[in-house]
């Protein structure tokens, strides 16, 4: 199975940098809580954007933080059911602090 990476803190937490340095193709990175602010335009490196990694953000938090119009184009929005599916279909799951 592939790895699910969780980012739930806003910048300047440097968790995202460590996460991006440790990705493997087919991994998924999920941004939620204030972590959605870490995937706004310009946050993802070009190498991350061109990698075969899926970047997703949780809809309820994107809306709560008013970040919908500012998300990096590489990030797709998912809902709570997708979150559950992602957790079930990935192993291990890494919560970057």
């Amino acid at each position: 199975m592939t790895v699910l990476h969780l980012i739930n803190r806003a910048p300047p937490a440097d968790a995202l940098a460590r996460c991006l340095a440790s990705l493997t193709a087919q991994d998924t990175v999920l941004f939620y809580e204030s972590g959605v602010l870490a995937c706004c335009a310009g946050a993802l490196t070009s190498s991350a954007r061109s990698s075969r990694v899926r970047f997703v953000a949780l809809r309820v938090d994107v809306e709560a933080f008013g970040a919908a119009s500012r998300l990096d184009p590489a990030v797709e929005i998912v809902d709570d059911v997708d979150f559950v599916d992602l957790v079930a279909s990935h192993q291990p799951i890494v919560s970057w602090a």
């Binding site: 790895v3 968790a15 460590r18 291990p92 799951i93 890494v94 970057w96």
Partner: protein, 113 residues
């Protein structure tokens, strides 16, 4: 079959109790022969910085006693925090991003503190 455990330590010493809890978790896992791996990264690399005074032995010294030999440190974090590998104890194995990705992929459970 034993599950493979990896513990990520991202917090510096003396910030809350999380780092201490990570150590407890490692020692318990070691005592049950689960042979967990531990990776220090971000400010967590300071956990490995050996003290130069005559302080009592640090809890991390117990890792070897419990058979935990897979101790890794993120080379990039080391550079950023201005620490040298030979100043660390117990002596970890320096790894880059690709090696960290392999460590994670080879684990069943990854715990973060």
């Amino acid at each position: 079959m034993n599950r493979r455990y990896l513990v990520l330590v991202e917090r510096p010493p003396a910030v809350g109790t999380l780092a201490r809890e990570a150590l407890d978790l490692l020692l318990v896992a070691g005592a049950f022969d689960l042979a967990p791996a531990v990776l220090f990264l971000g400010r967590g690399v300071h956990q490995l910085a050996a003290s130069h005074d005559s302080a009592p032995p640090r809890p991390l010294e117990a890792l070897a006693t419990y058979g935990i030999t897979r101790i890794y440190v993120d080379a990039q974090s080391l550079r950023r925090e201005g620490l040298a590998l030979d100043a660390l104890a117990p002596r970890p194995i320096a790894v880059d991003g690709a090696a960290i990705a392999r460590l994670i992929a080879e684990s069943d459970v990854v715990l973060t503190t």
